[in-house]
Amino acid sequence: MQKEKELIPQLYRAEFRKLVSVLSRSFGLEHIELAEDIVSEAFLTAAETWGIKGVPNNPVAWLYTVAKNSAKDQLKRHNLFESKITTHLQQDHTPAYETEIDLSTQNIRDSQLQMMFAICHPAIPPEAQIGLSLRILCGFSIDEIADAFLTNKENINKRLFRARQKLKEAHIAIEVPPVTEINKRIEAVLTTVYLLFNEGYYSQSHNTILRRDLCLEAMRLNYLLLENTATDTPAVNALMALMCFHSSRFDSRLDEHGEVVLYDDQDSSLWNQELIAKGNYYLNKAAQGNEVTTYHFEAAIAYWHTTKAAEKWEHILQTYNKLLQLRYSPIAALNRTYALYKVYGKAIAITEAEKLNLESSHLYHCLLGNLYTGEDNQKALEHFSTAISLTKSSVDKKAIRKQMIKIGQL
């Protein structure tokens, strides 16, 4: 009894996405809900049956068979409807579906890759892509998605409903785009993987297991791209390197209460050397060819963060300089100014920070609060107070108050 209670959630996370991808591919993306229902139903049947009869010898094969049979039933019913009824309405009729469901390893992998491109389509708004990715590509439950986004189930259900509508309206095919289009289309896929990773890495949720899962899922999705020669591009490798380097510091950047430990206070003995080595491997692969993307620069910055080299801040600053010249972002501008402080001291960094024109960002005031600490504590406190008034997150407010208390003790 105990065994299947642990087993089913594990299987759900690993197998739901595979089955949904394969079934959606046979049904067409407009019937994605049907695919989800059939797979959920199979898991429900498993929970009921295994509880009474015990867990079968090969639970995965059992699930596949149940899902496959009910998918076939659906298709038969549908084809019957199509041939018996629709043919009377339409002159030119060809049966819309194949009835064979191919659950080979190869087809499962291909279907997932194709599903990735379908969901990460430029026609789908980025927020919807993230939600759908978590549900369809990562097999997260509605509860888990709600927890990750710090919202409730109803909101997530609404969001997913709208996202599925978009998928249907846009008539997107489940396929890997032709080679000539891959570079263009892969950008949207990488953006979603990157956002998914950030959702885990920078999430406000205190659920550290869930946050780590989000990061791992993003890496798994990226790995699907690396496994296919057509999508094994330098940018994909650079993003993989970036995620390896970042996640190598996962254990050191959250304390036992799930609160963020600032970089300077992190225990570097907790940095995962195996992941750092993997990051190096992918960064080397990313360096092949002439393409330089923002992921390359971000991976290089993340790499320097994992080293103890004396000149690391110099390298970080120079890489931020290049990254910003390639593409501006407020976060990169703020981080660059922090690196500037590390290399040239607070006075220069303050002058540059005050030119950034980001007064409405709480992070901007946090940065200035930090830079003014010990230089002009009154100004530091003013910036920290402004930062508190600008953020809605209680986690952020708490962290900022901690820094204000530190000033009082200086």
Partner: protein, 119 residues
């Protein structure tokens, strides 16, 4: 925001007299200056550094050797920045490291062409 073109000129001081360390420092200064403009989201195009390979064409098939035959100051690069006014563009240009080694920055506004021929 309007675009302003920056034209960088050296004072004719050959770069190859610099030691590798000086060269490295100059590069770092340039990157810090450009990065600082980019961090304000005021870099429109990081442009080009110009090499010494080149010549100048004139009418009747006359070619003068090198890009710098008749101008005292060598054009060494271009970049495009964004600013509300010429004053603001000047303010951004003031940090350019070329000014520390005797060079100059010419700041020029851009004539915006109406390219909408369909109307």
């Amino acid at each position: 925001m309007k675009d302003f073109v920056l034209l960088f000129r050296n004072a004719g001081e050959p770069m190859n007299t610099l030691s590798p360390q000086q060269m490295q420092n100059l590069m770092t200064d340039w990157q810090n200056w450009m990065g600082g403009i980019a961090a304000q989201d005021k870099l429109s195009n990081s442009g080009y550094r110009l090499s010494t390979e080149g010549n100048t064409l004139k009418a009747n098939n006359v070619t003068t050797d090198g890009p710098f035959a008749e101008i005292k100051e060598i054009l060494t690069g271009v970049a495009i920045i964004k600013a509300e006014t010429l004053e603001e563009a000047n303010e951004l240009a003031k940090g350019c490291p070329i000014l520390k080694v005797g060079g100059s920055v010419e700041v020029r506004g851009v004539i915006v062409m109406n390219m909408d021929y369909n109307k």
